[in-house]
Symmetry: C2
């Protein structure tokens, strides 16, 4: 996990296509970051932290389906990437609150778009799948 020293950045401007090519040609860490933010749990976690601070248990309850381990791992990654802040209150029982950093907030709108898109086109995708599967079942006939 060496990283790319943060200075050789300077991504080229231009169309997305160009950026992608640049990205790919460099086989750089962009893909790795993309994988992180595009992660299922990361996406949902960030979305849930929109404008609100949540405790570990609250997150776990709301995401429901995520195991304690996965939530912990996800939060650690997000914290490491500077997207989420972890605040520990030295009380007993322990209280740990998570919230988005400014950097994390900049991701919000994009994630919103992605989630919104998914919900908007849910039916279309389901239909496409059904059609595809049906076609696969009865070949050319």
């Amino acid at each position: 996990m060496e990283d790319g020293t943060s200075k050789s950045v300077g991504s080229p401007e231009g169309t997305l296509g160009e950026c992608i090519e640049w990205d790919l040609r460099n086989g750089c860490e962009v893909r790795q970051i993309l994988d992180r933010v595009a992660d299922k749990w990361s996406l949902l976690t960030i979305a849930l932290l929109e404008r609100q601070t949540l405790r570990f248990s609250e997150l776990q309850r709301q995401i429901d389906g995520v195991s304690q381990r996965m939530l912990t791992v996800t939060l650690r990654q997000l914290e490491r990437d500077g997207l989420v802040t972890r605040k520990v209150y030295p009380v007993v029982p322990p209280r740990v609150e998570y919230s988005l950093t400014d950097l994390g907030c900049t991701l919000l709108s994009t994630i919103q778009s992605l989630v919104a898109w998914t919900e908007e086109h849910q039916a279309e995708i389901a239909a496409a799948r059904a059609e595809y599967d049906a076609r696969a079942a009865e070949p050319v006939a």
Copy 2:
């Protein structure tokens, strides 16, 4: 895989937070779709097909890093979900071209945002990681 019959969709309007909650409470297939479109290879594949049709080998060459197997799998999923069109020319040697469907195009802008965000904040993330790792190395001191 019951469908979402296209009419029972009506995701609630309002803030993203509300949508997410709705999403989670339904434990619906949204997450599954999200996982698909948020996939590393899917993301890059769709981005590369922006306004252009590409052959299998062209995609493989440009994405570089993807194995033939993964590219095939990815393209099949995207095709099944109705995001990509697969056109086979019955010639020899075989020629297969891929392009985005209208549905796939609607995802373009969102994906562009995500990729753009990643490239824009690459440095910040790298810095955050470095700081986090450094802090982990020398505890409280």
